[in-house]
Symmetry: C2
Subunit: 490 residues, 2 copies
Amino acid sequence: MAKDFITRQENYSEWYNELVVRADLAENSSVRGCMVIKPYGYAVWEKMQHILDNMFKQTGHQNAYFPLFIPKSFFEKEAEHVEGFAKECAVVTHHRLSKSPSGKGLIPDPSAKLEEELIVRPTSETIIWDTYRKWIKSYRDLPILCNQWANVVRWEMRTRMFLRTAEFLWQEGHTAHATRQEAEQETVKMMHVYADFAEKYMAMPVIRGVKSANERFAGAIETYCIEAMMQDGKALQAGTSHFLGQNFAKAFDVKFLSKENKLEYVWATSWGVSTRLMGALIMTHSDDNGLVLPPMLAPIQVVIVPIYRSEEEKQEIDSLAQNVIEQLQKLNISVKYDDDDKTKPGWKFNEYEFKGVPVRITLGARDLKEDKVEIFRRDTCKKEIIHKDEIVSKCEFLMKDIQDNLFKKAYDLRASKTRNVDTWEEFKQEIEKGGFLMCHWDGTAETEEKIKEETKATIRCIPIDAPQEEGKCIYTGKPSHRRVVFARNY
Amino acid sequence: MAKDFITRQENYSEWYNELVVRADLAENSSVRGCMVIKPYGYAVWEKMQHILDNMFKQTGHQNAYFPLFIPKSFFEKEAEHVEGFAKECAVVTHHRLSKSPSGKGLIPDPSAKLEEELIVRPTSETIIWDTYRKWIKSYRDLPILCNQWANVVRWEMRTRMFLRTAEFLWQEGHTAHATRQEAEQETVKMMHVYADFAEKYMAMPVIRGVKSANERFAGAIETYCIEAMMQDGKALQAGTSHFLGQNFAKAFDVKFLSKENKLEYVWATSWGVSTRLMGALIMTHSDDNGLVLPPMLAPIQVVIVPIYRSEEEKQEIDSLAQNVIEQLQKLNISVKYDDDDKTKPGWKFNEYEFKGVPVRITLGARDLKEDKVEIFRRDTCKKEIIHKDEIVSKCEFLMKDIQDNLFKKAYDLRASKTRNVDTWEEFKQEIEKGGFLMCHWDGTAETEEKIKEETKATIRCIPIDAPQEEGKCIYTGKPSHRRVVFARNY
């Protein structure tokens, strides 16, 4: 256990907050609800971005950039969207500051009041569909498959770094299609892209599913999602993909001339993941010793720490280290050689352990006399003594093994905390223990609402592969044809 | 000349505006002064970002992310900075919209007025130095070498796509150092990084120099810059690097304990380039046939267009094309095979020519009977017939040759429009012809101001390699020791 560091058992929520700061991932800024993403945290996010961006491009998408500001009236055009998003938001009312008449300080210049207020985008459907109207005339202009990497602002009252912040970074895909079927296929495809990313790179198992009406995106016909389970048994929505039907095309009058020469409204999707994934990554794998990163997302995959007494010993270690670094780099393994003499080896061990570096190699002068080195893997915190000639092959092995092991650990934990529940009494007891409860539900928003009121649990999703199974709603006893996932959530 | 397309001669300014839209780079949005960067334009920007980001990392910088919003009071802390930036900006005054009492539409909720207004960042020195105060305690914490890729907002009255928009994308480096010397070295280093990028990748020659006091960044001790000349002879400031002294450290109380155990203020730099570079790139190389892109920044470097009459011919061309594509991809040359049968070859020729694709290969069934293909280079608009076995080696050659030729063309143009001017009469005549006038100047802000008032020309920079030369100020006749660059500018 890291010194002075709170355990998950003691207080999971504080453990998370402290971990984010102590591992140098992020910190709160002087601006309410806005965080600073520090270089180490940003390096992880960059890795995520890079991989996702490639996945989007491989599925035919292109990046573009749309304005930060959205005219207030745009929100009023889509009836459900306005309810969901034109509430807690940052409203720009003036375009100039001037000296206060009192002579002290600055005030918004009364003569520079905007005719129409601008909203800092909470999501960009409205401004993008206002643009697509100009881009789309005929079926030849379709599909449009755009993505944007951007910052968005939602004025959350209670914020937590990465999980819920007033400003956050994300990508938002916005696609336009000639047919309903094509748009639906796109929506499902992007859910799978997200799920593949979560499982393969984040080592985080997810359930692929559909949201109930209560949890749907404001303005969507159907919301697909990936849901993960954190170590405390709470659910975290890690990505969503929305089938928007023709709602935004109708709101912004976007029509196209079909092959049959008929004017039709365009079909839409939108999908996004955000810096919230950082929170999911941290909470899925980290432990009481600090951050644990899967090798595929670790900015430093291997750290080498030298231990020596004399300059001569140091030179010998340097030359071995250089050799190892070159070989590791050829295998695309990122490695840091920390021979900074301002800090002691023990301090370095703690530091890299806390920062979740997957593998640490200690090159000690004494061990090296016998050609031995110590290798430490962060996932299990186990040390091993190996021959120095094995370093590179061992690192290569560990990159895959740690990645696989982290996924398996998370998968097993989720399995152990997922169970079928069939009665309301049992539900009320079980939900207190956390985890996913697989239950029958009568399919109504009212029932879901009542269950939420009484237990704070919501339907996280209806899994897309949920088998047909006849049963009775845990709350109303009405008939149901499949189980859905209930949980408390972030 | 492209059909219906205005020439540079007719109206350079309109030529630019129309080019940006017709080449699918960007367009104006419904939000005043904000542009939409379209996928093709964004792909060029992404290439720039990618290369610059690598250059920053190779010089030891790390990316991070700081809040979009800056509390109003932060601007008031640095006396010069507030003059420069707390003027035309986007002011957030409310954090909620609610239904208007009239029942129609939304209004900023009077109960959700912010205690202190937030400004959408026009640049981030203030919020970053407020953060650095928490990061810096001792000389061991220095240097800090951070960069951020972000959007910023400056409420410009007259906007032009890429060159001057209310919102734009940029990177801003912010570094903190223990000594004045180290900070000055960093400032100069980053100017050279920008200059290398401009010349090597954008094929755009630049003058490296120092700004006069009038043109300095608000809050800087010294501003270094790179200045380019557009085809109309006007100057464009393409990047700036500021030595900020201890101004921001003092404003935000950022001190460190030195090796000598003394509390000292930290030394600072900041440096940035923006989507303005897109404007510079377009105006440096493009012609009356549309966009011209240097190969190193072209999203599509080679386009292949097939011409055929029968399915049999098509198949033969397909197999040759596939072969060529594979070989080009091995050389990291990005290639597009446009066999879309919805458009005719002639339309495709115009389209890719207008979009500045450096090389076009036409695979015509008739030519191929004699193993011949046509190759077209966009920079000179010259066609050549070559043997089909030469395609790959010719493309490889052209990537370098076009890049070099574009640089040379721009270099020669600049040379032809740069001249020494020694009298005020001559200055007033010559400035009307455009270009850079190398003149003696007495070094005072007043003189520069008067010259600007009378001729709209400003000092673009004092070149860092300007040779010592005794002379007399063109305006006052007072002594001067070197020539500086006067020009009208974007």
